[in-house]
């Protein structure tokens, strides 16, 4: 153990790993936001509420239908995605071509309504959701005790993030999608059903939020406000990464988790603000964000 500024390297490694775990959630959530913004040009303020819905969906499955964690990992994002697509078809689609602020206001209002409804029914302390049996326990890494479930969240969200990046940037489907964003008229001329593509993309982004919600359920209390607490940080991540940049949001998500973890070690009081300090600094130097394509 070599102490560094009064902190042992052991403690440092442990905090870095914990930061990475939080970063996994930031990455997954900001990825969904980036997909939605990049493809639909909607600033989806309902993302936190949808993340919360994902967690509650899993909780419902367990407590009413006795469907466990593993099926929930698929069913909850699917269920919430369907809800998201209905929202897109009935409301968001009407805002096409209008200023960003309309989409922002609509989704923000939706978030408040959804959270209010859940809070009215469930109160604020939330509900417990157990860690799945397969991932109970943990491993002693020497410098820290790593719960198996946390290791799983890092691995799983990293895999989902990379797959998403690959699908959008490297496959034919992704190419069509990007074409639909860049020039919807021309893409339509090629026989692509652009509105349906957009609805599906929104559903996918929403599904990512719900997936993060299911991942979070065994770690945090399943609470109506769990998303509201997180969404502000996630937006900062997206802004730092560059609005709409897929890789940017993934890398920034993990990196900010790490920076936050380090801050918790060296100056805990600033742990909650460090993300915003970084955001301010990045915006000063690169207004389009670290990975942003255009200013």
């Amino acid at each position: 153990m070599i102490p560094l500024l009064g902190i042992t390297t052991q403690a440092l490694f442990a905090q870095l790993l914990v930061g990475l775990i939080n970063g996994a959630f930031y990455a997954l959530l900001s990825l969904g936001l980036a997909v939605i913004f990049g493809m639909l040009n909607i600033v989806n303020f309902a993302h936190g509420a949808l993340y919360m819905m994902g967690a509650f969906f899993a909780w419902f499955l367990l407590n009413t239908l006795h469907i466990g964690y593993w099926p929930a990992l698929l069913l909850a994002p699917l269920g919430v995605a369907i809800f998201g697509m209905i929202v897109e078809r009935t409301m968001l689609t009407r805002l096409q071509g209008l200023d960003h602020i309309y989409g922002l206001l609509l989704t923000f209002g939706l978030a408040l309504i959804i959270q209010g409804l859940f809070q009215n029914y469930f109160g604020s302390s939330g509900q417990p959701y157990p860690v799945p049996d397969l991932l109970k326990g943990g491993a002693n890494l020497g410098f820290m005790y790593l719960p198996n479930y946390r290791a799983w969240t890092i691995a799983f969200s990293l895999a989902v993030c990379l797959l998403t990046w690959f699908a959008i940037e490297k496959t034919r489907l992704g190419a069509v999608l990007r074409a639909a964003t860049e020039n919807p008229q021309l893409t339509r001329a090629f026989g692509v059903n652009v509105p349906r593509l957009i609805t599906l993309t929104y559903g996918f982004g929403v599904g990512l939020a719900a997936l993060a919600g299911v991942l979070a359920a065994p770690i945090y209390q399943v609470r109506p406000l769990m998303g509201a607490d997180l969404i502000v940080v996630v937006f900062a991540v997206v802004v730092i990464g560059g609005m709409g940049s897929i890789m940017g949001s993934i890398v920034t998500g993990f990196a900010l988790g790490l920076i936050e973890g380090l801050t918790k070690v060296f100056y805990p009081q600033a742990a909650n603000t460090v993300v915003f300090v970084v955001m301010a600094l990045v915006l000063l130097v690169k207004p389009a964000g670290l990975f942003g394509r255009k200013a």
């Binding site: 604020s124 302390s125 945090y220 406000l225 607490d229």
Partner: protein, 409 residues
């Protein structure tokens, strides 16, 4: 100004002030009481107080029997969002617009400390049930307020003492980074050291924190025998849940939830919370009276929850306030009402018999509880058994140690 006009002005002033006295008397003659519940309606403490506190206040108004005697009692409630500035603004607004003579609940120490000051300035009444900081009857005590339900000293003195005496002689704190957390840590430290234990360190977490893994890892590597959670509400539930995940208790460390409410136990579920010791001034399943109160309450809240000690305290304090006002007759002189309340013994369905001390501390027994195993729980909300009943005189800070200027030593 001539002498005559000066005299005229003086006469006019006298008349005016006499007029306002009459007007005041006329107003006071009206048998009206305005009750304000100021609490966290939507944040991490929403289930501890929140809408349930307003229900408890409504029950107290009905149970007081004063409505039948021609009193008009208005109830108003609002969300202070755990922000001292929001709470202060609401308090000023309610007082200036004549919407509240008495403030109830006042969850969150930072808000309570701020509102306390305003209430004293404007000579109203604050009956603090939700906030915990023992400073409210210490250096921040006021002739216009009573700290009703519990405080950081009584929590420390019960849970902290029991665990230290049972061999938990080295402590590490995970502390909520504001007035309440710091007061709870300070008071527990005093109790721990007085009982032969020592405190190794602490890790701060902001209010409404979701992830405690960083703080818990530090607690784990400190090798302290006891990890004291100086937080509350959803923060406590999250830290207990994550402590289990990181294997703190498996590693031989003991968790001390220094402030845990029955709603937190409900939120955690018995499998995660079993075995934890915690301290309450009210537990719904203590006796027939508390059960009756709790059942009446449950029927009126949306999710059928049992009342927390904060909500029971709101009921209890308002019952006593109304008794005092009935004795005094119509008045809005806050200091006079509080002084009358201090002179009368307290007795109500929820919290039983007790009294109020010079420094504004309400004294009643405090219960050291233990969360039941899932197999021991027989009916809904059957969550805890009483380990020890600590008499009020022992549980709360002795008057001799009080820094309150109101105490004549």
């Amino acid at each position: 100004m001539t002498k005559r006009s000066l005299a005229g002005a003086a006469c006019g002033l006298m008349l005016a002030s006499a007029g306002s006295i009459f007007a005041g008397a006329a107003l006071a003659q009206e048998k009206a009481i305005k009750v304000g519940v100021l609490t966290d309606m939507s944040g991490p403490y929403g289930d501890v107080g929140g809408a349930g506190s307003a229900v408890a206040a409504q029950m107290a108004i009905e149970d007081s029997g004063m409505l039948a005697k021609g009193w008009k009692i208005d109830l108003i409630s609002a969300d202070h969002q755990n922000k001292a500035d929001v709470g202060s603004n609401l308090a000023r607004e309610w007082i200036d617009q004549g919407k509240a003579d008495v403030f109830l609940d006042l969850l969150t120490s930072s808000v309570a400390l701020a509102v306390n000051q305003i209430v004293k300035e404007k000579n109203k009444v604050a009956l603090i049930s939700g906030a915990a900081s023992s400073d409210l009857t210490g250096k921040a005590c006021s002739p216009n307020s009573i700290h009703w339900t519990y405080d950081t000293f009584s929590q420390a003195n019960s849970t902290g003492k029991a665990i230290t005496k049972a061999g938990g002689d080295s402590w590490y704190f995970v502390t909520a980074d504001y007035a309440f957390g710091k007061a709870l840590e300070r008071d527990t430290t005093t109790v721990v050291t007085a009982n032969g234990g020592k405190v190794i360190g602490n890790a701060m977490a902001p209010l409404n924190n979701a992830d405690f893994s960083s703080q818990l890892l530090q607690a784990q590597s400190s090798k302290a025998k006891v990890v004291g959670l100086a937080n509350a509400g959803a923060d406590t539930a999250n830290s207990i849940k994550q402590a289990a995940e990181f294997g703190l208790t498996q590693g031989g460390q003991k968790l001390a939830a220094l402030l845990m409410f029955i709603t937190d136990v409900n939120a955690l579920g018995l499998p995660a919370a079993q075995g934890l010791e915690f301290t309450e001034s009210f537990y719904w399943d203590l006796n027939d009276k508390t059960r009756d109160f709790a059942n009446r309450y449950s029927k009126r809240v949306k999710n059928g929850a049992k009342p927390t000690m904060v909500q029971a305290g709101v009921y209890s304090s308002l019952i006593h306030y109304l008794k005092a006002v009935e004795t005094l007759g119509p008045t809005t002189d806050g200091a006079a009402i509080v002084s009358t309340m201090k002179s009368m013994p307290t007795d109500d369905e929820a919290m039983g018999k007790g009294y109020i001390r010079q420094d504004g501390r309400k004294i009643h027994p405090v219960y050291l509880l233990q969360v039941k195993k899932p197999s021991e729980s027989k009916y809904p909300w059957d969550y805890a058994s009483v380990v020890a009943t600590i008499p009020g005189e022992e549980a709360f800070r002795p008057l001799a140690q009080s820094e309150c200027p109101l105490v004549t030593k």
